[in-house]
Amino acid sequence: MKLAIDSSRCKGCNLCMLVCPYRIFKEGKEQNERGIILPELDRPERCPNCRLQKLYGRTLCGLCQMICPDQAIRWDDEAKNERQKVEVEF
């Protein structure tokens, strides 16, 4: 699974930055076409939910998705045979 921010819903409040224990979200720099500065993802493959959600069959941390007031954060399935980066932090 991979983390994605829905740019049509995000309003740029950066609440996800505050709650993520892995500091995956960082402040964005460029405005999108709606004039909103979306947060950027910093190595989202570190998110345990991306790696282990399928294995455990449930959402593990999910704080960013729960606190997102605009329902903009989701996890997408990878395409078949898509290459995946793996990064584990200790």
Binding site: S8, R9, K11, G12, C13, N14, L15, L18, V19, I36, T59, L63, Q65, M66, I67, C68, P69, D70, Q71, A72, R74
Partner: protein, 262 residues
């Protein structure tokens, strides 16, 4: 199925301002409802007027968007006519405490089987930032430009005194605890109030030195004191830090309830 399937995707994004806590509360409520395995057809969301009360419009179940403050009266009607339905009420502090104050007290007294989620953002956000009964002392609003000099309504204590079966208070920062509290409220037969303190960066934060969303979240994080810790401090006679608010489950009891299906 996840809580995201309960949203009407065609209605999103919501009209809430950037950083409004109401969306978080809807997430938590829908997550709790979803994990309980309730069906869309058997669940009904009721709301009054206000920012918080726009919530049922984004949910794909049946809903009632009623007159200001009267959401509990309508919800009582639903529960008496169709006791098998699950009734959840979204309401705000102006809706529940100010205009619907008496409905609130008597819904607690009758112990009608419903769950009330009150998004308390300390202000009337939608109408331009007027002071509400829950505005803290000294806070600046459009109707109290020199600082509010009135006492603050403690909704949870009121619900406990009026006889509700389950009362809890959390903030929009504590999402996991809030989800668990809503889950407990939905399971409890009888009246259940979950008061959620949320941030309002536009109407409240802007005038009270909490302009950034992170400022209010930091305030909620640092000024919340768990009920058990508060009770321990009081029992030991130690000083309780100033201007803290208690969070946690205030009461959970089993008084005879009204509208519970036989």
């Amino acid at each position: 199925m996840s809580f995201r399937d309960w949203y009407r995707a065609d209605r999103l994004p919501t009209i809430y301002c950037a950083g409004c806590g109401n969306g978080t509360v809807i997430n938590c409520a829908l997550h709790a409802v979803d994990t309980l395995g309730w069906r869309w057809e058997d669940t009904i969301f009721v709301s009054g007027i206000g920012c918080s009360s726009r919530a049922p419009g984004y949910i794909r179940t049946d809903s009632l968007h009623t007159t200001h403050g009267r959401a509990l009266a309508f919800a009582t009607g639903i529960k008496l006519a169709r006791p098998e339905l699950h009734v959840v009420v979204f309401t705000g502090d102006g809706d529940l405490a100010a205009i619907g104050g008496n409905h609130f007290i008597h819904a607690c007294r009758r112990n009608v089987d419903m769950t009330v989620i009150c998004m308390n953002n300390w202000i009337y956000g939608m109408t331009g930032g007027q002071g509400s009964p829950t505005t803290p002392r000294g806070a600046i609003t459009t109707t109290t430009p020199y600082g509010s000099g009135e006492g603050v309504f403690d909704l949870s204590a009121l619900a406990v005194a009026a006889g509700a079966n389950h009362v809890a208070r959390w903030t929009s920062y504590h999402v996991k605890e809030l989800t668990n509290a809503i889950d407990a409220g939905l399971r409890t037969p009888g009246f259940s109030l979950i008061e959620v303190l949320t941030q309002c960066p536009t109407a409240y934060g802007r005038r009270n030195k909490l302009r950034e969303v992170s400022d209010t979240i930091e305030y909620l994080k640092t000024h919340a004191i768990l009920l058990q810790r508060y009770n321990r401090l009081v029992a030991e006679g130690k000083p309780v830090p100033e201007d803290m608010f208690t969070v946690g489950e205030f009461v959970r009891r089993n008084r005879p309830a009204m509208g519970v299906p036989p």
